[in-house]
Amino acid sequence: MEIDLEEIIAILEMLERSDVTEFQLDRGDLHLNIRRRGSVATDEPAQPAPAVPTGTGGHESATPPSGSSDPVRAEPATVAAPVRPQQAESVPSPIIFELDDDEVTVTAPMLGIFYSSPKPGTAPFVSVGQHVDEQTEVGVLEVMKLFNTVRAGACGVVTRFLVGDGDTVEYGQPLMTVRAVP
C-alpha cells in the first residue's frame, strides 16, 4: 500500500506533539524511519546517523517507487527527520538515507561546520560524479575558525552530498557517499 505526502505530514505532526524519539514504519516496500533530534539510538551505539531500516536490502527503495528509470538504483530516501524537539538548534539531525551495497560514506572526523569549498564562491573540492581516492580532499570542517581537512578515505565516485554548506556536523556523521569503482 502507498502512503502519500499528506499522510506522512500527518504522522510527523502527531509525532511532534508526542514524546516519541524514534518511529519506524514498514509497509510493503515503504520504509520510513524518523528520529527526533538529539535522541540517542540505543540500538546503534557506534554509529550516529544512517538509520537505514534493518532487514531491507540496499537496492530496495525506501520511498514508494517513483518511476525511476533504474530500478536497481532507485532514488534514495532523503527524509530528513523533521520532528523537532522543543529546543531550536543549528546542528542538523542525522539524515536518513539508504546506502547501496557498493557505496560507502565519508564521515566527519570531528564536530565542526562543513564546507564543500575552500572559500565562499570558489569551486567545491569535489562534485557529484567526480572520482576520488583515499587522500582526496573532499571538504573542510571549521572548528573555532580553524579549518580541518576532510579526506575521502575511500576510492570511487562521489554520488551524493548528505549535508549542506555551513551545516554543523557531529563526529561520525556521514557527509557524502562514494560509490566504489572496480
Binding site: 533530534r37 538529539g38 535522541s39 540517542v40 540505543t42 551505539p45 557506534a46 550516529p48 524537539p85 522543543q86 529546543q87 531550536a88 538548534e89 543549528s90 546542528v91 572526523p109 570531528m110 564536530l111 565542526g112 561546520i113 571549521e142 572548528v143 573555532m144 580553524l146 554543523t168 557531529e170 563526529y171 561520525g172 556523521q173
Partner: protein, 449 residues
C-alpha cells in the same frame, strides 16, 4: 528566554549538572565522545552532540571542538564540571569571546589559582602558611631545590588537580627518573608540562574549605571537608565537617580560604585545600581547585545548599541569596568513591560491562552515579562509578549508615573497589578518626585493611 547550558563533561558529574539545570528550568546540551553515546547523562540531557572519538584528547579535551559545539547548539552557558577542561583559563577566555558564560571563575583568576605555583605565591603574600618548595627549570636545579627542602618531596603538576599528577620521591636517583616522566605526564594529562616540588608532610590530614563567590566581590565559605583517606593521592573517602580540627585551627582555615579567594574576587565554586598536622595543630596551604569538586555532595548534605544551583546563579550575576551567618553545619556526612579499580591488583583500572547494579534504598543515603545494569564502563576515562554519601546526626551515625549501605550494595561485572570501601568503613582507624593521608596505602600494604 530559557537558558541553555552546554555540559562539557561526562559520567556522574554530567548527570549532576543536568539535574541542577532541570530544576532551574534550563535546557541542556551534552557533548559526548563516541564512547559515551549510550551513557546515562546522554539519555537525560535535552540534547546530545558527538564531539569526537573516544580518545579524550580529540573530544572532551579539545577546547575548540567543545566551544564550537556549545556555540553551534545555541547555548548561553558552558559548565565544565571537574577534570578535563574545567581549570583551563583558555576555555574561560574562548567562552567570553564567543559570548558564552563560563560556569567558573574568570580566566585571570584561573591563571592565578589554577596554576599551583602562582597560588602558592599569593598565599605567601597574604601570610597563609605554605609547605617549603618551588619549581625548577631543569632536573639539576630540581635536585638543588630538593636538597634544600629535604627528601622526601612531592612532585606536582602546576596545572594538575584533584590529586592527579602528583608523585612522591624519596631520593635524588628517584627524582632524576621522575622529573621528566612527571613533565611528560603533566603535558599529556593537563596540556601543560610545568611541574614543581614541595616538602612531603608525612603525617597530615587533608582538609579543604568550600567557598562560593558572587560578582559583587563577596565570598562565603560553606565549611570544611576532610579527605585523608587517599590512595596515591586519589581521594577515596571524604567527609564534612572535619571532626579532628581544633576550633582555633578551624577559624584559621576558614579565614585563610576566604581571604585567599576574596583577594582575587573569586566568582563561583572553589575549594581551598590544606594539610593539617593534628599533632602540632598546624595548617599548610596546598592549592585551590577553581571548580566544582567531586566531593561537593558531603557539603550539600550538611549545609542543605545546592552548590551547583548556586554556582549557576552567581556566574550569571545574581548576588548570593544568603549571608555567612545563614550557613549552618548540621550533622555529618561521609562519601565513599566506588571506582572500577581492583583492590586485589593495587587498584588497577578494571573497565567492563556492569552485569548487576542494585543499590540499597535507605534514609540518609545519597547516590551520585551514572551506572546502570548493562552499561559498558569504558576504559578511556576516570574510574569513578558512584559516590555513596551517608549522612547522620553524628560522625559515628553517618559511618554506621555507610557501613550498612556498602554491605547491601550489589555490583557485578568488572572488579570494583567495593570490598576495599567496606573494609575501610569498618576499620578501627577510620571509626576512631585517626587516619592521615598515608594511612590507606600503608594499611593496604600491611594487609590490615
Amino acid at each position: 528566554m530559557t537558558r541553555r547550558v552546554f555540559v562539557a563533561n561526562r559520567g556522574e558529574i554530567a548527570l549532576r549538572i543536568i539535574e541542577a539545570c532541570d530544576r532551574l528550568g534550563y535546557e541542556t546540551v551534552l557533548g559526548v565522545s563516541a564512547a559515551d553515546r549510550d551513557s546515562l547523562p546522554a539519555r537525560r540531557a535535552g540534547r546530545v552532540v558527538a564531539l569526537g572519538p573516544a580518545d579524550a584528547a580529540r573530544s572532551y579535551l579539545s577546547l575548540d571542538i567543545v566551544v564550537q559545539a556549545a556555540v553551534s547548539t545555541g547555548c548561553h552557558l558552558l559548565h565544565p564540571g571537574y577534570g578535563f577542561l574545567s581549570e583551563r583559563a583558555e576555555l574561560a577566555e574562548l567562552c567570553e569571546e564567543q559570548g558564552l558564560i563560563f560556569v567558573g571563575p574568570s580566566a585571570e583568576v584561573l591563571r592565578t589559582l589554577g596554576d599551583k605555583l602562582s597560588a602558592r605565591k599569593l598565599a605567601v603574600e597574604l601570610g597563609i602558611p605554605v609547605a617549603q618548595g618551588g619549581t625548577a627549570s631543569s632536573v639539576e636545579k630540581a635536585h638543588d631545590l630538593a636538597e634544600r627542602v629535604g627528601y622526601p618531596v612531592l612532585i606536582k603538576a602546576a596545572f594538575g588537580g584533584g590529586g592527579r599528577g602528583m608523585k612522591r620521591v624519596e631520593d635524588p636517583a628517584e627524582l632524576r627518573e621522575a622529573w621528566p616522566v612527571a613533565t611528560a605526564e603533566a603535558e599529556s594529562a593537563f596540556g601543560d608540562g610545568t611541574i614543581f616540588l614541595e616538602r612531603f608532610v608525612r603525617e597530615a590530614r587533608h582538609v579543604e574549605v568550600q567557598v562560593l563567590g558572587d560578582r559583587t566581590g563577596r565570598v562565603l565559605h560553606l565549611g570544611e571537608r576532610e579527605c585523608s583517606v587517599q590512595y596515591r593521592y586519589q581521594k577515596v573517602f571524604e567527609e564534612a565537617p572535619c571532626a579532628a580540627l581544633s576550633s582555633t585551627a578551624r577559624a584559621v582555615l576558614h579565614d585563610s580560604a576566604v581571604r585567599l579567594t576574596s583577594a582575587v574576587k573569586y566568582v563561583g565554586l572553589g575549594t581551598v585545600e590544606f594539610l593539617y598536622d593534628s599533632d602540632r595543630d598546624e595548617l599548610t596551604f596546598l592549592e585551590v581547585n577553581p571548580r566544582l569538586q567531586v566531593e561537593h555532595g558531603v557539603t550539600e548534605a550538611v549545609t542543605g545548599i545546592d552548590l551547583v544551583r548556586e554556582q549557576l546563579l552567581v556566574v550569571q550575576g545574581q548576588p548570593l541569596s544568603f549571608a555567612q551567618e545563614d550557613v549552618r553545619i548540621s550533622g555529618h556526612a561521609i562519601e565513599a568513591r566506588l571506582t572500577a579499580q581492583d583492590p586485589d591488583r593495587s587498584l588497577a583500572p578494571s573497565p567492563g560491562r556492569i552485569t548487576r547494579w542494585r543499590p540499597p534504598s535507605l534514609g540518609g543515603l545519597r547516590l551520585d552515579t551514572h551506572l546502570y545494569e548493562g552499561y559498558l564502563f569504558p576504559p578511556q576515562y576516570d574510574a569513578l562509578m558512584a559516590k555513596v554519601i551517608a549522612a547522620g546526626p553524628t560522625r559515628e551515625e553517618a559511618r554506621k549508615l555507610l557501613v550498612d549501605v556498602l554491605d547491601r550494595l550489589e555490583v557485578q561485572g568488572p572488579a570494583t573497589s567495593l570490598p576495599l570501601l567496606r573494609r575501610i568503613a569498618s576499620s578501627a582507624a577510620f571509626a576512631g578518626n585517626t587516619v592521615s593521608t598515608s594511612w590507606l596505602a600503608q594499611a593496604m600494604a600491611e594487609g590490615s585493611v
